[in-house]
Symmetry: C2
């Protein structure tokens, strides 16, 4: 097991030890936000026939070449078609067929004149305008052609991509499975949220935060709050082992006498990958594989817990779901205030983005309360290993904490 | 009922006719992504006692004033405390107590010297460094003070805010209810996704896309595909009326002979607010109230359906959930290519964001396939009413389609 490694190595090691999950079939109405696990070809043309884009009249364009509102041209109305009506109608010169939006274009017709340019006069229509060939016609296959590739394996199933897939004839698609997580908070001092709080105890706020991040990413999870007893920790891990794809523990990462997680998983035969990373906050984080399952040993201090989760665990979860493993987009911002770290360490500094006349400012948090600093940040300043400070005024790339903030709508 | 109104008026009218929903209690682990419906004060101090930030030894700072690695100072080890252990221990000058991270600071002690600066020597520790008063101590109430306001009604319950609320002693919070939607696709030509497709028919791709948008926002919904028969449409609306907070229909918005939705809801006694908006795509959209419930009549053409949903219906849903009604963040981008609309109309143009040396470019879509253009866009160019074109090279604010894209990670 490596120890005290740099952050980049820790992230690489993490990602190289997790794989995207298995696949499952989902109906389109139940596949949003997943990633596609197959290439999809269109099964049908869409539209399946040439149809009208407007409510109007299907005509021969040549018939209306001289039509104006002053000198309308009259056509005989010989029928009517609405969307989905497939009666074979054929028109000849001098004739028109009433069509609604989406209706089949009758054989012979090559334009639709919109109803706003027509007057119905008994069995005839008076056309007040021309209609060039193809006017208001949506040709068969415009949107999708049978056989063409419409989505590649690995694509995120966004709402409009799901619409395209539906139009192409699929009702069910193969998607990447979502991992099931176990979130285990350890410590004699840790209490379930909302229970009475004896002096010296604290609530499992890390567990609540991690659970919310998992929920936002559609990852199902079970939770447990376990005292500092090896047997209890071991049982919490083994409980539901077969229904757990990834373990996330909170607290007990330091390896001191009461920090038992590493001892327990070592006893259980895990493969330790790393322990302690040159990142701040988050240094005591550990990672390994237990029965082949990714196992994250997160520190108990709230800022460390959150940062180790966001920077190492969440990218792994994204990869398991078939996404690119980068969780947060970056944005260019001007640093409002000097920040300093420590050379050889990667430091993550809570910040808020603010609009200013000179562009987006990243303002480092100066709050004493760790939990308020965490809740109020909407971006992270990253001080890389090769720098020990960044001066005020420098343009930097900040991590924007989607889904917590709309990056480009920073508060003013 | 107003007709042919401008887009801004349509949005204003929509939002002024919807209200944020009722409230419900949710446990913190089940409240992510909701909005808070109450102001919250902290019930407890966090930490509830002053605790150690490190594994180390609680000491009198004065005892170590001259400690160095060359001339360590020895203290008598008189006890040990781990996190959550509340035994009342008191130390005197010349003494130290072993403490783990999170442990209570013994009475008398006013600093913790980290274990890396100490050597355990039997019943004594040799301290190789000084420790100024307060060193490595997290004072009671640093993160949260009992009684202070920690979150205001209307706040989005982000993961770290939920962590803060948990630490402050709450287990259950009052949140805004999420509306329940009915998505009804109408048209004799509309088929359920995945079923066989007779010529002239098409799949309910609009319903699939809207369902996915609703899912991504945590909004539960039922769906139905209904033929063009007034009685069938009426029954689809009335089915589960009491469990529906908002209606979204697709198709039948034009008001022509086969476009029946407006006739049906008028017969059912709705209050029509507007029909037809000077927006493109999306013009035929209608909106009203049926039994006091927001009722959106969306056009059937896919681009119109999507844009009316995104620009008018989704903001209303956001407001009902207690969020600000703006759905999409905006970002500054340089237009790569001339776009034109029509004066008096608000035009929305599909676009993709690309990185360029000159900053982010917005590239308008030129795809013939409407569905592919919809699926491939990740931003919308808005041409306002008072302009009929925007020339290439102009800096504009584009709507960034969260959650479809990371705005600042445009493809290069």
């Amino acid at each position: 097991m490596k120890t005290f490694i740099g952050f980049a190595e820790a992230l690489d090691l993490t990602l190289s030890h997790v794989a995207s999950g298995g696949t499952e079939k989902r109906s389109l109405l139940d596949a949003g936000g997943r990633t596609l696990a197959e290439d999809l070809n269109a099964k049908v043309d869409s539209p399946s026939v040439s149809t009208s884009r407007k409510d109007g009249y299907a005509v021969f364009p040549e018939d209306l070449k001289t039509a104006t509102s002053a000198r309308p041209i009259r056509l005989a109305l010989v029928g009517s078609l609405s969307a989905g009506d497939m009666r074979p109608i054929r028109i000849s010169r001098g004739e028109a067929v009433r069509v609604t939006t989406g209706a089949l274009i009758p054989e012979g017709a090559d334009a639709v004149i919109s109803e706003e340019f027509c007057r119905l006069e008994g069995e005839e229509i008076a056309c007040l305008n021309t209609a060039e060939p193809g006017r208001n016609i949506l040709p068969r296959g415009t949107d999708v052609r049978a056989g063409e590739t419409i989505a590649a394996s690995g694509s995120e199933l966004t709402p409009p991509l799901l619409g395209l897939i539906a139009a192409a004839g699929h009702g069910v698609v193969s998607v990447r499975k979502v991992p099931r997580a176990a979130v285990i908070a350890t410590g004699d001092e840790v209490m379930l949220p909302g229970s009475p709080l004896p002096p010296g105890k604290l609530y499992a706020s890390n567990m609540v935060e991690i659970g919310a991040w998992l929920s936002l990413h559609g990852i199902p999870f079970r939770t447990a709050v376990i005292p500092d007893r090896p047997q209890a920790i071991r049982e919490a891990i083994q409980r539901g082992l077969s229904e757990t794809d990834v373990f996330i523990t909170s607290g007990g990462a330091w390896g001191s006498e009461k920090d038992l997680i590493l001892k327990v998983v070592t006893d259980m035969g895990w493969t330790g990958i790393y322990h302690r990373v040159r990142m701040g906050p988050g240094k005591p984080v550990g990672f390994g594989l237990l029965d082949g399952r990714p196992f994250f040993v997160l520190p108990g201090g709230p800022p460390s817990n959150e940062m180790a989760f966001l920077q190492l665990c969440l990218p792994a979860l994204m990869k398991m779901m078939g996404f690119l493993p980068s969780v947060f987009p970056t944005a260019a911002a001007r640093l409002s205030d000097h920040v300093h770290g420590e050379r050889g360490w990667t430091e993550f500094v809570h910040a808020r983005l603010k609009k200013s006349p000179a562009g987006i400012l990243a303002v480092p948090s100066r709050l004493k309360s760790r939990l308020k600093s965490m809740a109020e940040k909407n971006a992270l300043i990253v001080i890389p290993e090769d720098r020990d400070e960044i001066p005020a005024g420098e343009m930097i790339d900040v991590q924007v904490l989607k889904p917590m903030v709309d990056p480009c709508r920073a508060t003013s």
